[in-house]
């Protein structure tokens, strides 16, 4: 295809020709083009089908406000739906597809929707698909999803990289048009740290689209020179292809930089897009303005575009939608488009101006006081019907119609913290209100200053004011300074199907209908008609709809109200929000010191918070996890097992008041704990519920090491700092986490001492007398390595925990395995750990569930009444100490093979099964290979007095009823003889 609609001039590189494909046809273009400008240059006006009625649609605009010209980019797993052709930068090899059409763009089967438009008017979802209810999920929704929709997903994982980053500046300037460039020059010359961001790949904004001069240069030459000066300033950072998407609290802005969307192949490791968080002292919004349309009958045909867009395509991209163009306007700016196109050799059929006093022109016809009343052309505009002031009608043959209804300032970011724009009568438009995000000010057309000189001046002044620069009088170039007077003209009277929101197919009639049906608030109008709720957020339609609603209501626009805008300013791919946090790196992973060893052993891992812990260690031939777990339990209880318990939180507590401090945070007493002794500690929340449990080992008078559960390590540390800093600020106590410093292993089972004696250096006696149950101390192992030894047990067996510096953890585990061969040592994982603690009746996470007290867990006596500790007062509340409160019990099925289900509820053997008769519930369940029975722990009303009682364990959701017996929670070694062996 040749570029039939290519004009002269423009800011494209004609020396280079690139190839691209649209709907599987080949075309050529030049660097500097967008996909939109290249399609126009190649005489392609039809780009897609509309959302609801599948009407043929082309381009409406030349910018990010585009509602219609949305396509699927790329192919395979890189396919990206709903991308605006108007902002898609051209490169060699670009591939795009039209969307929402089947089987082809020119013949779309669902175009039939258009014929039934009367049934698909405002609120049609709500009215049509009301009943029967069952039909919604099975019938209506799938049909609607298929019929109405935008692009399609590849259903494959996106293979590209996305990134996140953080930048800081004194002044963020949003938009690099005349006001933004002038602001950046002013701030940059004054030495401020400036970031200038613009969504376009070329800085200059409207200056790139206009033919007038700035100073003694063309507008775009002036812009290029300004950019060159800014590039030379080390304190100015230029961010092209960067959309500032949101204004957040305290001067934080979100921005998306499209670093790789404009290249055919991304270099390895380079991101496609980067989501920046920009911290600013001040920000200046120089976002310009958006031309607004006029609604008239059939105003959505391909070829009907914003007049300013036609001008941009002609001046910047040297492309036109057609060689025969008409203009429909209510203001002088429309005439500027006619003049520019005429100068490029495009035939101007006529300028249709609704004003009776339209400016005269001798190069082409101007129809004053005229209006476009209809258009023709099935897949693209062919004729325009014009009503003349004398009542007659005239038909113009043209391939493009430029529409200009005036300009709306781009106030979006000023609304992001609920700021409301205010109506300006002179401009007949909303301008930023006074309630702006803190630190943000607005300059240029975004602030209602619509002339070029006004933009330059307010940019300079805005930067100077934001940075509190004194005596800065920037040398402003001369520029066009036409006063702007906009008289609103929203739609042509009598039209039936005149489109406002072209992306969501909302017409003037829909807005009126919605009002008649009682939707009086603008927010309701939006939701009922879906106006402004498409991916373009109604940038070209919201204000017109509001004006029509005001008219129907007989109110002024400010009385009717306005909607405000939310982030993001333009759509952002989910991948960009995810950045690097995907797949395995979705969150950071914490590995234990024995991780690599466990991996070699073929361990199955489980995520515990961010930790990966070995869950069990399957041996060859074991086909079910239970085989491995049962073996690990049996072998540990029969001889010795080793488990990595590094993940338990460890907090170093030191200071003269350390013991006193622990007395406050633990419900039980610590003041009298002897040095070289460890004690179980129960920590309550202030409301009396159990927060965590663990141990505290006293290494010296003023030095303890506290352990926490893996899950609560962070919370407990935070809580202890709260107690230290906020409640007892004068206590001499210092806290620091040492979780990561020490590789810690539980060595459990009757042969644990014998195994440890092989590695503990001979000068340390760990016999029962020298190192009794709950003893602790600093020792050395393996020829002088410093280590800590604690004689504590979670399994109920004779057991120790040994800690060495983490770097030696891998080696120590290997040594324990090698030295333990004589004892048939077994590594065990978290499953076996869980089984053994259930067998022993130790409460753990399932029981410390935030609703249990010490009394519930059978630990009521631990709560000391002789001292002040967190939670002790409220733990005595009446309801928490009633005689029949839940108590921890053991649960055993009458037939050992019957399953005990955690979460199942306990009911009396007779009587109804319902909440009113609930007696308690099962918290933990396991198969005990020692008892050869399923067992469980549970919380039962008055449980301590119900030993031996038969009950029903029920789970109505899974249809389970099991006869169980209530027993002591201590299934194994209830007297604790093994521990002390």
């Amino acid at each position: 295809m040749t570029q039939n609609n290519r004009l002269s001039g423009g800011q494209i590189d004609r020396n280079t020709t690139v190839n691209f494909r649209f709907d599987n046809r080949n075309y050529t273009a030049h660097p500097g083009d967008t996909l939109a400008s290249a399609l126009l240059a190649n005489d392609v006006r039809l780009i897609g089908r509309s959302f609801k009625y599948h009407r043929p649609r082309g381009l409406l605009t030349a910018g990010s406000e585009e509602p219609n010209g949305i396509v699927e980019l790329r192919s395979g797993n890189r396919q990206e739906p709903n991308t605006r052709a108007t902002t898609t930068e051209m490169f060699d090899g670009l591939e795009a597809q039209s969307q929402n059409r089947w089987p082809s763009l020119k013949f779309d089967a669902l175009g039939v929707n258009d014929l039934f438009s009367n049934f698909l008017s405002a609120g049609f979802y709500y009215k049509t698909f009301m009943w029967p209810t069952a039909f919604w999920e099975k019938v209506y929704e799938p049909i609607i999803r298929r019929a109405a929709g935008l692009g399609s997903l590849s259903m494959e994982a996106d293979p590209d990289e996305y990134d996140k980053g953080f930048r800081h500046c004194d002044l963020l300037i949003i938009g690099a048009g005349p006001s933004g460039l002038m602001a950046a020059l002013t701030a940059g010359r004054a030495g401020a740290d400036v970031i200038l961001a613009d969504e376009d790949f070329r800085f200059g904004g409207r200056l790139n689209s206009e033919t007038f001069s700035v100073g003694d240069q063309s507008a775009n030459d002036w812009a290029a020179q300004a950019v060159a000066e800014l590039s030379s300033m080390p304190n100015v950072r230029l961010m092209a292809r960067t959309t500032v998407i949101g204004a957040f609290d305290h001067g934080i802005y979100g921005a998306v930089e499209r670093t790789g969307d404009h290249v055919a192949t991304l270099p390895a490791g380079k991101p496609r897009q980067i989501l920046w968080r920009i911290y600013t002292k001040k920000a200046l919004l120089c976002a310009g303005s958006t031309e607004r349309p006029i609604a008239f009958e059939n105003n959505d045909r391909p070829g009907i575009m914003m007049a300013s867009a036609l001008r941009t395509y002609a001046n910047r991209f040297a492309a036109t939608a057609s060689q025969r163009v008409a203009i429909f306007t209510n203001n002088d700016d429309g005439h500027r488009t006619a003049a520019d196109l005429h100068a490029k050799g495009v035939h101007i059929c006529a300028v249709i101006d609704v004003r009776k006093d339209a400016p005269v022109n001798y190069d082409y016809e101007v129809l004053s006081g005229a209006q476009v009343v209809n258009t023709k052309g099935r897949l693209g505009l062919t004729f325009v019907e014009v009503a003349l002031p004398d009542g007659s009608t005239r038909t113009l043959e043209c391939g493009a119609l430029g529409v200009s209804g005036g300009w709306n300032p781009n106030v979006h970011l000023t609304c992001h913290q609920r700021g409301r724009p205010v109506w300006n009568d002179d401009l007949a438009a909303f301008v930023p209100g006074s309630n702006l995000p803190v630190g943000l000010s607005v300059a240029g057309a975004a602030n209602g200053l619509m002339s070029t000189y006004g933009a330059l001046q307010s940019g300079a002044e805005g930067a100077a004011a934001a940075l509190e620069l004194k005596d800065v009088r920037p040398d402003l170039p001369e520029a066009e300074d036409t006063p702007i007077a906009q008289k609103p003209f929203w739609y042509v009277e009598g039209c039936k199907r005149a489109w406002l929101d072209q992306q969501n197919d909302v017409t003037v009639k829909d807005v009126k209908l919605s009002y008649q049906e009682g939707f009086r608030s603008v927010e309701h109008l939006k939701r009922y008609t879906t106006l402004g709720m498409a991916t373009d957020q109604g940038k070209t339609s919201n204000i017109s709809a509001l004006a029509i609603m005001a008219e129907v209501a007989g109110k002024t626009i400010p009385e009717t109200g306005t909607t405000i805008f939310r982030p993001p300013y333009t759509p952002v791919p989910i991948s960009t929000f995810a950045g690097r946090m995907k797949g395995q790196e979705f969150h950071p992973t914490r590995l234990t010191p024995s991780h690599y060893w466990a991996k070699e052993r073929g361990a199955v891992f489980v995520e515990v918070g961010n930790w990966l812990r070995a869950q069990w260690f399957p041996l060859p031939g074991e086909t079910h996890w239970r085989e491995s777990v049962d073996r690990e339990v049996r072998q540990t209880r029969a001889s010795v097992g080793v488990c990595d318990c590094t993940t338990l939180g460890k907090i170093d507590v030191q200071g003269a008041d350390a013991a006193d401090f622990l007395n406050r945070v633990y419900a039980n007493g610590f003041a009298k704990l002897a040095v070289r002794k460890t004690r179980y500690g129960l920590m309550l929340r202030e409301d009396g519920m159990v927060m965590d449990d663990g141990t505290a080992a006293r290494l010296a008078e003023d030095h303890f090491v506290v352990t926490t559960t893996t899950a609560n390590a962070v919370n407990v540390y935070r809580h202890m700092e709260f107690v230290r800093q906020c409640l007892f600020p004068d206590m001499d106590v210092q806290l620091i986490s040492t979780t990561e410093s020490w590789a810690q292993y539980a060595v459990a089972g009757p042969n644990s001492r014998k195994l440890l004696q092989k590695i503990v250096d001979p000068e340390f006696d760990i016999s029962n007398d020298a190192f009794p149950f709950m003893g602790c101390g600093n020792i050395t192992v393996c020829g002088g390595l410093r280590a800590r030894l604690f004689r504590i047990s979670f399994s109920g067996e004779l057991a120790f925990e040994i800690a060495v510096p983490s770097r030696y953890g891998d080696a120590l585990m290997r040594r324990l395995m090698a030295d333990g061969e004589d004892f048939d040592v077994v590594p065990y994982g978290t499953e076996a750990l869980g089984v053994m603690r259930i067998e022993k009746g130790h409460a753990a996470g399932n029981e410390l569930n935030g609703t249990t007290t010490a009394l519930n867990l059978g630990l009521g006596k631990m709560v000391s009444k002789k001292k002040d500790s967190i939670g002790s007062t409220l733990s005595e509340r009446e309801a928490l100490v009633e005689p029949d409160v839940l108590r921890l019990v053991g649960i055993k099925p009458v037939s050992p093979e019957e399953k005990v289900t955690a979460g199942g509820h306990l009911m009396n053997t007779a009587g109804p099964v319902d909440a009113a008769h609930d007696q308690g519930y099962v918290t933990s369940a396991a198969y005990s290979p020692i008892l050869n029975s399923n067992i469980g722990l549970g919380l039962l009303k008055d449980g301590a007095n119900r030993m031996g009682e038969k009950m029903r364990l029920v789970s109505p959701l899974t249809d389970l009823t099991v006869e169980v017996e209530i027993v002591s929670a201590h299934f194994v070694d209830p007297e604790g003889e093994r521990l002390r062996a």
Binding site: H250, Y279, V438, R718, E721, C726, F728
Partner: protein, 95 residues
């Protein structure tokens, strides 16, 4: 949001963990006659002001200081940031 840490200067609020009302510093005396009632009030009864609110934030990804932040709940404007330890001492807390 940005919290202007009294020692470290402006820091992103994502580095902090929020706890709530800074009246949590005013822990009652466990030996007082009305201790049960006082702890109930302390634990459960809070003002919920639309406006200035003193609240506790922990600089978890920072220097581990607890801070008392005075924040307007309607605008997020932060008018004062203090070390909680100083506030606690000023409120008469000691050991």
């Amino acid at each position: 949001m940005i919290i202007n840490h009294p020692l470290l200067g402006p820091r992103d609020s994502s580095e902090f963990t929020y706890l709530g009302d800074a009246t949590l510093i005013n822990r009652p005396d466990w030996q007082a006659e009305d201790a049960a009632e006082a702890f109930y009030e302390y634990g459960y009864v809070r003002d919920n002001p639309a406006g200035k609110h003193q609240e506790l934030w922990f600089h978890e990804a920072g220097d581990r200081s607890w801070l008392v932040v005075t924040r307007d709940t309607t605008t997020h404007e932060i008018s004062k940031v203090e070390l909680a330890r100083d506030v606690a001492r000023a409120r008469g807390r000691s050991k």
